[in-house]
């Protein structure tokens, strides 16, 4: 590293940027990062030295890129450890996101052709969202229905699948959660072993949970785009998790986020900004009605 001057270091930074731009735009690993030498600010006299030391590699079209697969180069440029590490993540994410996009396309087409299947997606997405929310509620209401706070923590989230099915049944016939699981497995969206349902509560307790959460008021306020956007995001991310396709880099996470929104805009025939402000309005209305926990239950998952 000490043998390289600042202009070489700047050139390497530009080479990383070229790789980042290309990989981010879906260019394959083999074709990514190639540029004329001038784009990296390398003068022809330095070219030979960089090639000789295998810092750069050239292709048949007379273009160059960083020789990032060479382990010696990685060892030599210690200060670029982070970039090499991130580059590896980029390369893994390229594959993951391409597979994720395939699943996304499959789900989107399935819903476009057969809108009744929304019921399964809603059941899955809402189950996951409610379970992860851990059902925040007002302590007085929890105690009022005979739960201790500890009871509530253990039992409330066990109603997630039932509450999710209640919402889903407005959009299609679903008998129970097993039907949802079978459907998802048949479509290769996820496997049975990925979905572990906790013991379901009895109907009495489910009614009590619904009362504490003011579930009927929440459901009454929800619009179709609200229900579908939450369901779609949570279901799709669950499918990614099951298939180990979650991207780790910011760039690919953002890319995936954009792709999900494109699909949703197509499916719901509404703009992202309208869908989001619709969801915000619903949560604001519920909060104003005293259901201050609405924003802790109905929220989009974190992607980045």
């Amino acid at each position: 590293m000490e043998n390289f001057d600042p202009s070489t270091i700047r050139a390497i930074e530009k080479m990383f940027q070229a790789l980042s731009d290309d990989l981010g735009n879906g260019v394959s690993e083999e074709r990514a990062g190639w540029r004329p030498l001038a784009d990296f600010g390398i003068e022809p006299p330095d070219e030979g030295e960089l090639l000789r030391r295998a810092v750069i590699e050239s292709d048949s079209r007379g273009q160059f890129r960083l020789n990032f697969k060479n382990n010696r180069i990685r060892r030599e440029f210690k200060t670029f450890d982070l970039q090499f590490e991130q580059l590896d993540c980029f390369l893994r994410d390229t594959e993951k996101v391409s597979e994720a996009q395939r699943i996304l396309k499959q789900i989107t087409e399935m819903l476009q052709i057969t809108p009744e299947y929304w019921a399964y997606i809603i059941a899955l997405g809402w189950w996951k969202m409610l379970e992860i929310s851990e059902m925040p509620a007002r302590v007085d209401d929890i105690l009022g229905e005979g739960f201790s706070p500890e009871d509530w923590m253990i039992r409330a989230s066990r109603s997630s699948s039932q509450l999710a099915l209640n919402v889903a049944r407005k959009y299609g016939e679903v008998e129970d959660f097993d039907e949802v699981v079978n459907f998802l497995e048949k479509r290769r969206i996820c496997n049975t072993q990925d979905i572990i349902l906790s013991l379901t509560l009895n109907q009495d307790d489910i009614q009590k949970v619904m009362k504490v959460l003011k579930w009927e008021e929440i459901e009454a306020e929800l619009t179709e785009p609200n229900i579908k956007v939450l369901a779609f995001f949570w279901s799709f991310l669950f499918a990614l998790k099951c298939n180990n396709l979650y991207p780790v880099t910011t760039e690919f996470s953002l890319k995936l986020y954009d792709t999900i929104w494109n699909s949703l805009e197509n499916l719901l025939r509404e703009k992202e900004s309208d869908i989001l402000s619709n969801l915000e309005n619903t949560i604001r209305t519920l909060t104003e009605e005293g259901i201050i926990w609405a924003s802790d239950i109905l929220y989009l998952p974190v992607i980045i």
Partner: protein
């Protein structure tokens, strides 16, 4: 403001940011997101933030000590050995010989040799120089589309030189080759100046009420150069509005698109990270495949970061609003401040004669005294209660070479803190919880065998994932 609303959920009032928060927001929206949600506030300090902070503090302290000693006549130039003085001073703060030598070579020495012939020799007992002055206002006006928008802001001014009419922002950053100030230091001194100029009569220390700070020179001082900063720069105004929007949205907006917008506007990329930034590893953490339940962990932790931030706003920011909005009598009545007079003062002890019953302060050892100035603009000093004698408090303080007035205002713990009557924990604890949570979210193991041998990873998998906890080896 008067504590009638029970603090819970989204505070729905604007946070009370520091000048540093604004700088970080301007530097990168993702950095301010990490600052607010994850308690990581060292984006602008760069790599090795703790050591840099420690060195920077010593640089500030030594210059304050040197100038104060010149004013008091304890040091007389040009024949005084400043190198020995620096070694003695730095040793007192725990720097070993090598560190002291480095500090002299890279920072203090170049500064002293630049200033020795003129500025330092010119200092006399008639000088009025104030160091590390805290300034805050809940309404700092900034022009916006022909009107004026006011924001809350607090900060600390490194040096105000009344005689030479200068406000100085001092830093150890920068080199002798620089032709412009280190990143955002120009904006920093401008913000502090705007903050100071926003204060009215009664908000400024009584001695300063006739001073017009509008025409004070703004200087960024590095060890190697001084940069004079213009008072007029539309870019600074734009930066300020934008920074407030980021801070507001990240803190209290519940719009689902805020995170993504911050990342869309980030200042660097993972393959081209900003080497100046101290948060590189926070933004681009190592990718550990284990625990496999990391996606779930991320989802579950996300709201917690927000709740911890809201707790800080309810406690620290609300307290700051109360200090600046409520009348002094109301603050005293609510137990938010106590008032007293300085009865005696020496290098490390201060005796305060309190005007009200002092039984209520018993049990709290850490205080902030403002021996000079007001709640809007004054010198804050940390003090430790040693003894209560009648209506007098005897406290231990650090000598920072300041001039004291006869009136003192006593605050529990610190200005950023809150009333002891509420008996709530200090806000820095919430910040530590945020930092700890993020560390846990990012930690892990590369290899499965390692993950299996680490009980905390297995515990995370059991809590957030789908594995079942098993006792023993079978």
């Amino acid at each position: 403001m008067r504590g009638k609303e029970f603090p819970s959920g989204n505070p729905r009032f604007a946070p009370f940011p520091t000048v540093t928060d604004l700088l970080i927001a301007d530097f990168c929206p993702v950095a301010v997101l990490h600052n607010l949600l994850h308690g990581r506030d060292y984006a602008l300090i760069g790599q090795a933030p703790y050591e840099m902070k420690r060195r920077g503090n010593l640089f500030h302290k030594f210059i304050a000590h040197l100038k104060s000693s010149l004013i008091k006549g304890k040091i007389k130039l040009p024949n005084y050995n400043l190198l020995s003085e620096f070694h003695r001073f730095a040793e007192h703060y725990g720097f070993d010989f090598n560190a002291r030598s480095d500090l002299w070579t890279f920072y203090v020495g170049p500064w002293v040799s630049r200033k020795l012939d003129e500025e330092l020799q010119d200092i006399s007992s008639s000088d009025e120089i104030f160091f590390e002055l805290s300034v805050a206002n809940h309404k700092v006006p900034f022009p916006h589309k022909g009107k004026s928008v006011s924001y809350p802001l607090k900060g600390r001014i490194d040096e105000i030189d009344i005689k030479r009419k200068r406000i100085i922002e001092r830093t150890i950053k920068g080199s002798s080759l620089d032709d412009k100030p280190p990143t955002l230091k120009d904006y920093q001194v401008w913000l502090l100046w705007k903050l100071l100029c926003s204060l009215r009569r009664g908000q400024l220390p009584s001695q300063w009420e006739s001073i017009n700070f509008q025409d004070f020179e703004l200087v960024v001082e590095t060890p190697h150069r001084d940069f004079t900063i213009s008072h007029e720069n539309p870019n600074y105004i734009e930066k300020t509005h934008s920074a407030y929007v980021w801070i507001h949205d990240i803190s209290i907006s519940e719009s689902p698109g805020v995170n993504r917008e911050a990342y869309d506007n980030r200042a660097c990329t993972s393959l081209n990270p900003n080497q100046e930034c101290g948060l590189i590893r926070t933004c681009y953490p190592r990718n550990y495949p284990h625990p496999q339940s990391r996606p779930e962990i991320k989802q579950i932790f996300k709201p917690w970061y927000q709740y911890l931030l809201w707790e800080q706003i309810w406690k620290g920011d609300l307290f700051q609003y109360q200090l600046l909005n409520l009348e002094k009598e109301e603050l005293i009545e609510k137990g938010l401040i106590l008032e007293g007079k300085i009865a005696s003062f020496d290098d490390n002890k201060i005796e305060l004669e309190m005007s009200t019953e002092i039984g209520s302060v018993r049990g709290y050892n850490e205080y902030t005294i403002i021996p000079f100035g007001t709640l809007f603009c004054g010198k804050e000093m940390k003090a430790k209660l040693l003894k209560v004698k009648g209506n007098r408090l005897i406290m231990e303080i650090q000598d920072e070479g300041i001039s004291l007035s006869n009136d003192a205002i006593l605050l529990p713990s610190s200005l950023e803190s809150f009333s002891p009557i509420l008996q709530e924990p200090p806000t820095f604890l919430e910040e530590q919880k945020q930092t700890g949570l993020l560390r846990l979210q990012h930690s892990g193991a590369v290899k499965e065998e390692k993950a299996k041998s680490r009980s905390w990873i297995q515990l995370l998998e059991a809590i957030f994932g789908i594995i079942q906890l098993k006792r023993g080896s079978k």
